[in-house]
Amino acid sequence: MPAPVQGDLRSRVETHSSVPLWRNIYVLRAVTQIAAALLIVGLIGFLLNNLFVNAEKRGVDLGFGFLSLRASIKISNAAIPYSPDNSYFYAFLVGVVHTLRATLLGIVLATILGVLVGVARLSHNWLVQKIFAVYIGAIRNVPLIVSCYFFYFGLVLRMPITKEAVHLPGPIFLSNRGVYTIWGEPTASFGTWLLIVLAAVIAGYFVRRALRNRETRTGMPSYPNLAALALLAVGGVAGWLALAGGGEPPLLPSIPVLKGTNFRGGMRMTPEYFALVACLTVYIATYIGEIVRGAIQSIPRGQLEAARAVGLSEIHVLRYIVIPQALRIIVPPTIGQYINLTKGSSLAIVVGYADIYVVTRNIIEQSGSSAPMFLLIIATYLLIAAVYSLIGNLYNRSVQIVER
């Protein structure tokens, strides 16, 4: 006998007494469903209707047409080439790139610092353990925005002015106009050199693979990573020397030199960028630290003991037993923290960093089109969050521990 469709009203035809509609559970269910749907649709319709009516009444433009107009605003230190002649939309993209640049760096640094914090919290050294506990307690219990104010106005702006910049070997110059370091200025031969390096990378990849195979085949340690790095270094240096001998080296050093009150040349990280990344890093790292600590602590002691009992060294215990198991626990909540960091980056406005939000504000000031801009901004953040979640889910699926 085939299964009748679930809840199919026809299968009820056989019932002997007819059920009044208002007591029939199928009817009741359908009615509530429809009522709820109407309520929700009605609410959305109500809001949208108000929006259109009010916008009309107040002469608010809800269209996206303005996005192609000339932006005419200045964005300093744009990460991608930008001029006020570009469109509003392009200016918005500059903001997006700035947000991504700050959050990606923040993610990397917060991860590193977070792991450090997590490990320090597990240290045998009581003092270290406590100091990091105090750090976590101090940072976490204060709103991020307050930390950012403090970082920028209390610390970064109070660094020495450029004339008195702290000169670190490198050279690296620290001042309240940012961090300047030496950098390479590509010359005509730079492309050639890149090709040589690329070739070395490819060769290194194959050498590494070969050595690794040998290692697993014979069990003899063959140092595949070391060999690959050596190859890369040799390739890079040899290519450099050859090109330099034949004319100009692929990169000419660009050293920051103080001219007037600003440094010229070299590579610069603006104080705003620095302050934003720093306050986000320091804040999110406390959360990642606790995640790491929890994950490591959650690995049963028996795992470590079993690994030691078969003679694995402490490094190997860490590499093959602790980290693989801890990572499974660490990654999902850490992805959540990455999303939090990204959202927190909207506080860039506090430190004067031109992120999506700041650029959007200038665009709104100029164009008056707030509704479309905010739709754009929210969509952008949702997209970023979705990408992170996707990566997290893919990872999760790939490392799921198999159970019965």
Partner: protein, 336 residues
Amino acid sequence: EDATKPAGYGHRLEQVRDRGKILCADNTELVAWSWIDEDGKNRGFGPDYCRAYAAAVFGDATDDNWEIVNITFAERPTVMQSGEIDVMTIANTWTAHREVHWGNFVDIVHYAGLGVISSKDSGIVPNDWQTLDGTTGCTGAGTNYVQMAADMESEYGITFELALYEIGGVRDAYDAGRCDFVLTGSDGTGSFVRQLTRSTPDDHNIWTSVFGKDPWAMLVPHGDDQWFDLIRMVGWILVNAEELGVTQDNVEDMFANSPSVKVQRLLGAEGTWGQDRLQIADDVAVNIIKEVGNFGEIIHRYYSAEAEEKGWGFYRERGPDNLYLRGGLMYVPENT
């Protein structure tokens, strides 16, 4: 009832009366212009104007019938569009775009150009725009200076770095040496930096050369001529009172005793220049001046040596905002 109103007259005045309170948009970050004192009171040039409007509508300004709605610069267009406030007293540069998109600007209360204050350390030569090339400037985020800076660069073929902050941050950043110059109103009114130029005058150059105009004016929402006229009249009354020598102290006396026809007309003895049409008291000028004094007194309250002494503002020369009769640009029609 609409039929009884002239075309273009709206309900703003009724709304304000029903509400019992006039809402003025401003913020609290600009020394002399608008701030909050130790007792939590809003003070400054903007709030004084708000009080004047309250006195015009309600007869006097109490703590309850005027309110400073605190907004940020970037919120200005949207607050105007939503129509939630009655008049904007924030330090507002009047531009053509804003006139069309934001609302109706009333007469100018402050004349300036987009000027520069640069630090002497920076090597920037005052009034030489080319020397800004390669330097760093600071200015307020979400202001039209951001656009004017772009124009300035293309005009002179220079590039400089521009760091943007909320107004308070501009001063901090410049003070700390984060930037070499500040883009601001040409007499410094628009930024706290003027303050620094007073405490350490030798360290700064205030440029006399300006890049374009930077007129400040109050602003009302589009679409209500009656309200626009009322707000505008308050401004005229303040200036005319100064011209006629009517002050906070002598206004009652002048009202009672002044033989001058012009004074009597201003103070409403005749009641003929349109008070009825605006639905305000005949002696509206008396109420206003009792509340805040005349235009000159307001200026004096915030831009004088005494103000600086008290910490309420700072000293500056009275320039274009002086009366037309004394060589300035404050030129308003008569109350006839």
